[in-house]
């Protein structure tokens, strides 16, 4: 079933936790190639995770920090937050939007941070891409021993940079999934309650997150 999804979602999401822009690219008239932008990003993450100098429990904090720094380059969590809230987003003031985006980003960070240590020689294979105006989908396979998990990166073009704002694993959109969960709360209890519950969940995950050092033995399967 969608069981394999989590590992790949983790690998994909972990890779990033704040919606910053990457260094300004040289402005050209042509549209940059999304796959060619995503490929070095994935490579960099894998390099960090497999770097012998960064192995071991004592390097855990450093390893996580480095991964997150790279993650900032290619993920747009503001775009992600916007879509997760759907129509509610437009009803918020700019400050509220920023507050929500920060909180949601922290939620993702804590939800997936422990997963990063589960990395054990998975490979990312780039399949193909399609571009529609300022949007692109890059389709990859995450290869985990015998298991192939299709992972799509949904991206938006900003200042010549393709920024990821959704990940679709085995057909399951991460944003759409959270959106559906938030929708229910918005409908029943309203935005204030959603915000409060979001804070609670972040606290809960913060406590549950595997602290460094962590057990880095690969998941039993």
């Amino acid at each position: 079933m969608f069981c394999k999804v989590l590992m790949s979602m983790a690998l994909a999401v972990i890779f990033s936790f704040h919606s910053n822009f990457s260094p300004v690219a040289v402005a050209t008239a042509t549209v940059p190639d999304p796959t060619e932008q995503l490929r070095p990003f994935v490579d960099k993450i894998v390099t960090i995770l497999t770097d012998v100098k960064l192995q071991g429990d004592e390097k855990c904090t450093e390893r996580r920090q480095q991964v997150m720094k790279i993650a900032h380059e290619r993920f747009d969590f503001f775009e992600m937050s916007k879509r997760v809230l759907g129509s509610q987003w437009r009803k918020l003031s700019e400050n509220e939007q920023q507050e929500f985006a920060d909180l949601f980003t922290t939620l993702l960070e804590h939800a997936y941070i422990g997963k990063i240590e589960d990395y054990s020689k998975q490979k990312v294979e780039f399949k193909d891409q399609r571009i529609k105006d300022d949007r692109a989908e890059v389709r990859t396979d995450l290869i985990d021993k015998d298991v192939v998990i299709p992972v799509s990166y949904i991206m938006i073009l900003k200042n010549q940079d393709w920024m990821v704002y959704d990940i679709v694993v085995e057909g399951v959109s991460l944003v759409r999934n959270y959106m559906e969960q938030f929708k229910e709360i918005l409908r029943k209890d309203g935005y204030a309650s959603l915000l409060a519950q979001l804070k609670d969940k972040v606290d809960e995950l913060e406590k549950a997150t595997k602290p460094c050092p962590v057990d880095i033995t690969p998941r039993e399967s």
């Binding site: 399609r130 529609k132 396979d141 959109s173 759409r176 969960q181």
Partner: protein
């Protein structure tokens, strides 16, 4: 009139006639079931429209979900864990393949009923290869050696194509996410046609086979359920939504999606 070579064609003509009637329904459905992630409509839509997820039984479903949660965490997973210590991973894959291979005739019938003739051929080829070269279906030689990847087809999907609605989302005890229509289809697929459920009339044997098959499957995904539960905000909604999204992908047989599989 029907020579041996043309036999298949002859068989398919009546089905084609049937499907020419159903095609308009299929077309409409295809549009709905193939969302474009690159369109913002995908994220905007669904927030207002309730038709996407029909959960008329939510209070009951939530109760069953809570039951399944405990049954899984307290009984099924410990069982699968013990099993995983005893049976090596490779052997568990063989068990999985064995059951899957026996289900191929069901998939064959459903691909035919859905008018997916090329997929039907694939299923047939897979069944032939895996039952022989794959040694009673223990290995998926068709996929690995002959590049015939698994094909998905259920009666639930067939009924969907024929215009039968979901009815409602349904959480089934010890089974999990489904809908009324799909679960009805699963019962027919499973109990009436799938060979391993007709080996015995005895309900306890049938139940035992099911639990055995599921335990084997769970043993290959230990810990994943807990991980999901942890990251989900409302696990009930999270799993429900993941079920619908995943099902939509399984039933999307457009060429674009087929490349992925």
């Amino acid at each position: 009139m029907c020579s041996k070579r043309n036999l298949t064609t002859c068989l398919f003509i009546p089905l084609f006639v049937c499907f020419s009637i159903i095609v308009p329904v299929v077309q409409v459905h295809a549009d709905e079931s193939h969302p474009d992630f690159l369109s913002d409509d995908f994220y905007e839509k669904g927030l207002e429209s309730e038709e996407y997820i029909l959960d008329r039984l939510e209070p009951i479903n939530r109760a069953v979900f809570a039951f399944n949660d405990k049954a899984y965490l307290w009984v099924l997973e410990p069982l699968a864990k013990t099993y995983s210590y005893v049976v090596p991973f490779d052997l568990r894959i063989c068990v999985y393949n064995f059951f899957r291979n026996l289900e191929e005739p069901v998939r064959f019938i459903n691909t035919l009923l859905q008018g997916r003739f090329s997929d039907a051929g694939d299923v047939l080829v897979r069944f032939a290869i895996n039952s022989t070269l794959g040694i009673y279906g223990l290995a998926d030689a068709a996929d690995r050696v002959f590049a015939h990847p698994p094909v998905e087809a259920t009666l639930g999907e067939t009924l969907e194509l024929w215009g039968v609605g979901d009815g409602s989302y349904l959480v089934v005890p010890l089974y999990g996410s489904s809908t009324i229509r799909d679960f009805a289809g699963t019962m027919v697929d499973g109990l009436a046609i799938t060979p391993y459920y007709s080996w015995s009339e005895d309900l306890s044997v049938i139940g035992g086979t099911y639990i055995g098959k599921e335990t084997n499957k769970i043993s290959m995904h230990l810990g994943e359920y807990e991980d999901f539960k942890k990251v989900f905000f409302d696990p009930y909604i999270g799993f429900r939504n993941a079920y619908f999204q995943y099902r939509r992908k399984l039933r999307d047989h457009t060429a674009e999606n087929a490349e992925i599989d």
